[in-house]
């Protein structure tokens, strides 16, 4: 067994002298705390603390919280049921059943899309694997429920979250993800993409 020798501080006979440095720092810290405490008590300064859960707290868009499925302009899920998220998922918590869409232009769509949130490790691989930007991890962090059934999020729940917090909507503009490439798809391209079931 390897032993790492850590050098100890030199012993000083004068304990008070040795502790002097610590005491000074503690006192200056306390001074700051007390100043702010009284200032806030006298309402001279705004408090940063949120009274959660009475008051909502929001996270940034990058936060990997509860999943949601993005929608096309026409309100249908973008997901093409390619199973890549289910394939990438290390927790195997995504369950998809694919079906034939009534419109041949979309062709394949998820009849069922379920996430077993208790198994999910919020790694975000599904988001990365998705070729059509159909699944995202949103800003919702409070995942609370009582019944066992509700822990499996259905397609309807994942796709329809009007009250999604953090100002995020589940309907995304068709070309949002691709704007950074600096190539605005032409109407013709968009048509052909839609024709292929891509968006």
């Amino acid at each position: 067994m390897a032993i790492i020798r850590v050098p100890r501080p030199p012993r000083d006979a004068n304990v008070f002298a040795a502790a002097w440095g610590y005491l000074v720092t503690i006192c200056s810290g306390l001074k700051l705390t007390l100043t702010i405490f009284f200032r806030q008590l006298l309402k001279l300064e705004k408090t940063e603390t949120v009274e959660w859960p009475e008051q909502p707290a929001t996270y940034g868009e990058r936060f990997k919280g509860k999943h949601f499925l993005t929608l096309r302009d026409d309100g249908q899920v973008r997901c093409t049921a390619c199973f890549l998220c289910a394939t990438a998922c290390p927790a195997q918590c995504i369950h998809i059943e694919a079906g034939q869409h009534p419109s041949n232009e979309i062709e394949k769509f998820p009849v069922r899309f379920e996430i077993d949130i208790l198994r999910c490790v919020f790694c975000g691989y599904c988001e990365e694997a998705c070729p059509v930007d159909a699944i995202r991890l949103g800003p919702e962090y409070a995942i609370v429920d009582t019944s066992e059934k509700k822990w499996v999020y259905t397609k309807d729940y994942l796709a329809d979250r009007p009250a999604l917090q953090g100002g995020i909507h589940s309907i995304k503009p068709e070309n949002e993800k691709h704007t950074s490439i600096g190539h605005e798809p032409t109407a013709k391209e968009r048509k052909s993409q839609a024709h292929h079931g891509h968006v």
Binding site: T80, L84, T87, A98, E107, H196, H198
Partner: protein
Amino acid sequence: MADTVTFTLNDKNVTVPKGWTVMQAAKQAQVDIPHFCWHPGLSVAGVCRFCMVHVQGARKLEIACNLQATEGMIVRTDTPEVKEAHKWGLEFHLINHPLDCPVCDQAGECGLQDFYMQVGKYKSQMTRPKVLKPKAVDLGPRLILDTERCILCSRCVRFEEEVTKTGALGIFDRGDRAIIGTYGEEKIEHNYQENLVDVCPVGAFTSKKFRFKQRVWFLQEKSSICPGCSTGCKIKVHARTDRRTYYRVKPEIDETVNGFWMCDKGRDTIAHLNREHRLPQSQMRIDGKKQTVPTAQALESLRRAIETAGAEETALLVSAHYTVEEYEAFFHYFCDQLGVTKVYQWRAETEDRDSFDGILLRGDENPNTAGLRAAMRRVKGRTVPIKNEIATCVSKKPKVVVALCPEVPFTSPWFQEDLKQLAGISHVSLWTCRYEATEVAGITSWIPMKGFAEKTGHFLNYEGAKRELQEAFPSATAEALSVVEAVQQMAAIATITTETATL
């Protein structure tokens, strides 16, 4: 030797029969030459221009599929020139391909994907709009055609002309407007449709039955034998073991019997293996009510019934859906050990046993008629004519009947009607894989059996050739037994009971 040639393929000496092409030789020598249009079971088209190889002394690259191997020829598949040809060959294939892999069922077993990883150019220079063509065309009861994904390798057209000789497919128009299809709205309706899906190297032809059901990378495959008829095609069963669900059947190459093909009927032989169609556990009718019981209890009650009635009052009703090994164990226990002599075949009353569609499908819809016949000859000491003997069985008024039920539902639609004939017998034990149609008055016990894909062993096909079920999936229902296991269990219970009795 005059009838072989030896040539050099990537520094390796390869000896093949005279007249073989470099492609065939490379397959044998396990040298990978990427190709699309070449298929070992079809004629050479030489149109994908992808199997380029370098032949020393030749002015330009040659295609391996139409290049006959000659003595002393020096062929390389790995020169920079060949690699460049592969890169661009694939680029040409891909420029008008829709790249809709996410929604394409072929993804995961697609030639374009595989070769892209192997020899791809990675950086495409195609920036122009693609040629658009009809998608998701309904081409038959089992077929969907996506003409945009098609790379016009013409394998399907050649299959239609050479194998089924129906010639229903053609390539219409020319240049990059060319489209594969049938005439007008015509559908392909023969019994070999799904072979078109198999020969298609890309996702142009997809199977309606398998459409969107599962991504292929989740599937495991095991080698087995089709139980649909007495031809005994070698097949691969694809299933997800984690879900215990069977998804599809594909033919496996077997030059001696089925070549590269199998019929569509054979592909339906797995539907009954899935849990929803299976007898989940042993059941018994106790006091007129059907109850789930431990298998041991059902078997024990059967043993008791035989003991009470006596071996001479017991009859065995056997269908030809089980393996040679199973018959051996079954007859060994019941006939040799218990002394049962009444053994009857159980098969369709009317069948056109010798009919043959000229390709693969035979009129005898039992996979192991020959095996059962041989086993019965051993038991009975004489050759029995092949016919349905359930009526004879019933007329002998046995008290106990052990019935090895036919496994594949669509080849035994007569099953339930036949079962009704057994109504008057005091103990009928059904050994069955299926659940449907077994709900008939007069049945005493139901023992769950394994399906063909869940056991190893062998069938004897129409010409007596040994057809081996090589690998087995775990059973979709945990309780299912093979006949061998059931018989062993029964014998073991018997021993314990006897021992207990003697104590």
